[in-house]
């Protein structure tokens, strides 16, 4: 799960990580008031969306007066902010964070995430503050300082010192960095984070070490033990169908094609998307109904797929091992009857009770196109989507 910068900074502050003072604003006058209260020479107005690279799209602006903060906020509210991470449409700005400015001497990078290879949390630091760590890893991997953290011991003081010296910090600055990094690790493990990244990490002219930007993602599997974090979820930042899917315990990701997909199992769902592309089609989504889906969940999945105006055909690919094919078939039929079948449904069923399932579909009288195997299903779905697109063309 992702959260906003202002939320991440709120969490970090609790763990003793130095962050600038700031306030959230949802209207231009709130932004003006926030800048007023912060005082200081310069305030920074920052658009709050779940995507990085905001500065490049005009989502981070300096204000030398409260009035200027207001003007920046006015320009940001409602704008579709486009960054390299948002996609071409951009993301609507609904909140801005107004923060005190600081005199920056150096910009560094500090991040923590899971290193899959070692199965441990790794801390990474670099002198290239403001650059994507992925970029640094590709161009100049030798400039990344990496510490692998033993989960039974935690981040050791010597590891922190090694990073500090490697970054060229000394004296009080190195001590401030140690407090900062130790706090960041404490925040990471206490919140079951999946990523905690401070980029840039500023060393100020007065020697403070402070988080200019902060990003935290959390492990969805662990949210059950952090209700206060789960409550931070911002539904405005999510695709409405992704939201509906989560409420029904379905794993759904929107893509930009016209063939809706419903599959059981993540690997098979990915492979189904691949095979649609291989057959010359474009998938509209990834959807895993899971191994234990019942009639109700299958029904919810059908409704979500058909609610996408892009969808010209739907491909259902179920390998019923534990899930029984007759249960799937009943779910499909009742959902299709409820919402009306607005696009052709290509169905491939395999596994337990497959005969029963196919009979239910055939007896339903609905326009369901049966498929024999995965290859056949993909070809039929692509043909159905093309026919649907042609029909759409005629109507215009």
């Amino acid at each position: 799960m992702k959260i906003h910068e202002y939320q991440a900074k709120g969490i970090l502050r609790k763990y003793g990580v130095a962050v600038p003072r700031g306030e959230l604003a949802t209207t231009p006058s709130e932004a003006e008031k926030a800048a007023q209260e912060l005082g200081g020479e310069v305030a920074v107005v920052k658009a709050q969306i779940h995507a990085g690279g905001r500065g490049k799209g005009g989502g981070v602006q300096l204000a030398r007066s409260p009035q200027e903060a207001r003007r920046h906020a006015e320009a940001m509210f409602g704008m579709m902010l486009r960054t390299p991470q948002t996609g071409p449409l951009g993301q609507r700005v609904r909140k801005v964070y107004v923060e005190e400015g600081c005199r920056i001497a150096r910009e560094l990078y500090l991040g923590m995430t899971l290193d899959r290879e070692s199965g441990r949390i790794a801390a990474m630091a670099s002198r290239e503050g403001g650059m994507d760590i992925e970029e640094v890893a590709k161009e100049t991997p030798e400039r990344i300082l990496k510490e692998s953290i033993d989960p039974l011991i935690g981040l050791c003081a010597f590891q922190v010192r090694r990073m500090a010296f490697g970054l060229g910090l000394s004296g009080a600055c190195a001590n401030a960095f140690a407090t900062f990094a130790t706090g960041l690790y404490a925040a990471y493990v206490s919140t079951d984070a999946a990523l905690a990244e401070v980029n840039p990490l500023a060393v100020t002219q007065s020697g403070e070490v402070i988080a200019l930007d902060a990003k935290m993602n959390f492990d969805d599997n662990a949210l059950y033990r952090h209700p206060e974090l789960a409550a931070m979820r911002d539904s405005d930042e999510e695709n409405p169908r992704e939201l509906a899917a989560r409420e029904n315990d379905l794993s759904y990701i929107a893509l930009d094609g016209d063939i809706g997909c419903m599959v059981n199992g993540a690997g098979l769902a990915m492979a189904t998307i691949d095979i649609i592309k291989l057959a010359g089609g474009q998938p509209a989504n990834f959807l895993d109904v899971g191994g234990g889906a019942d009639e109700q969940r299958v029904g919810a999945a059908v409704k979500i797929l058909l609610s996408d105006p892009q969808v010209k055909a739907v491909l259902v690919n179920i390998f019923g091992g534990i899930m029984k094919c007759d249960v799937i078939a009943n779910g499909l039929v009742s959902a299709a009857r409820q919402v009306g079948l607005t696009a052709p449904l290509v169905v491939r069923l395999e596994g337990t009770n497959v005969r029963l399932g196919k009979d239910i579909l055939a007896a339903s009288g609905l326009a369901i196109i049966p498929a024999d195997d995965l290859g056949d299903a993909a070809r039929k779905a692509v043909a159905a989507a093309r026919a649907g697109a042609d029909r759409g063309g005629e109507r215009k």
Partner: protein, 299 residues
């Protein structure tokens, strides 16, 4: 022959009184697996379906029944503890079916198991392991399997079933099929399975099914190139996945240009692995590959 499990494997089921544990314990038993004990704290002294004894602790179950493998169906918040309990009791094969275990729990489990080489963990978030006709530990549908000589290892559950069904329909049986699980931090990896298949006289060829995220497939490819003589057929799911999005499996994320399907496929082909274009072509690819082997009759 087979790897990891066979007709002598004695299985205990942790979480046998929960709905998933009960259902699958029954299915495993129906398949012929020796399910010798169940474990549910607080239910010790009772019996599962009037037959299999239930214990409060894994330690007790192992002492009384000689169980050497554990199937874990306990809910995610308690699953890491269940894995460690089995390892502490000396169980040599722990198969964790449970989905949704917090990553930091698994980070600790993996660190803990590093000091216990006697215990092998398969999973979590996996379908389990099956040696057709002998022993099934997990949730895979038993009836699609056929005893034979093809080894199957995969990160995905249903995609494993897909490959197995294609093999069975072509008359190609399986020596052992293993799902290693879709989580980023897990136990047994591809190389563990590949090395065992290479050494197993009952395995003639291997199917390796990977997916986007991480670098395990690349490492497996390097291993195949270096160590394996048996033919390997592969498939990678997620070629067309958008970067940065988690595709159902927590491990299936492409980030920062690593973990892409292209990189994995290139590494596998470079190692002489025949990589299928689509998941529907896996079975046939194995058949063709075996037919091309010089001086060998097909089974």
């Amino acid at each position: 022959m087979s790897i990891f499990v066979d007709g002598n494997t004695r299985v205990l089921v942790q979480g046998i009184t929960g709905s998933a544990g009960r259902f699958h314990a029954e299915q495993m038993r129906a398949y012929g697996t020796k399910v010798v004990a169940g474990v549910t704290p607080g239910r010790g002294g009772t019996r599962f379906q009037e037959e299999t004894p239930i214990y409060d602790t894994v330690e007790g179950a192992v002492r009384d029944t000689g169980a050497d493998a554990a199937a874990i169906f306990v809910p995610a918040p308690f699953a890491a503890d269940a894995i460690i309990e089995s390892a502490e009791a000396g169980v040599s094969l722990v198969v964790a079916i449970t989905e949704g275990i917090p990553i930091l729990d698994m980070v600790k489990v993996r660190r803990y198991l590093a000091d216990r080489p006697h215990t092998r963990l398969i999973g979590p978030n996996c379908p389990g392991v099956i040696t057709p006709g002998q022993c099934k530990i997990g949730i895979m549908p038993g009836h699609i399997h056929l005893p034979g000589r093809i080894g199957v290892v995969s990160r995905s559950g249903t995609l494993t079933y897909e490959a197995v069904l294609q093999l069975t329909q072509l008359g190609l049986g399986q020596s052992t099929a293993i799902g290693i699980g879709g989580d980023p931090v897990h136990g047994t990896d591809f190389i563990d399975c590949l090395s065992r298949f290479e050494a197993d006289p009952g395995t003639e060829a291997v199917i390796l099914i990977g997916e986007i995220g991480g670098t395990e497939e690349e490492k497996a490819a390097a291993y195949v190139k270096r160590e394996m003589k048996k033919p390997v057929v592969g498939f990678i799911a997620g070629r067309t996945a958008p970067p940065g999005r988690r595709m159902g499996h927590a491990g299936a994320v492409i980030s920062g240009g690593s973990g892409t399907a292209e990189a994995k496929i290139a590494a596998m082909r470079e190692a002489g692995i025949e990589v299928c274009e689509g998941p529907h072509l896996i079975g046939q690819a194995v058949k063709d590959r075996l037919a091309r082997r010089p001086g060998r009759a097909r089974h």
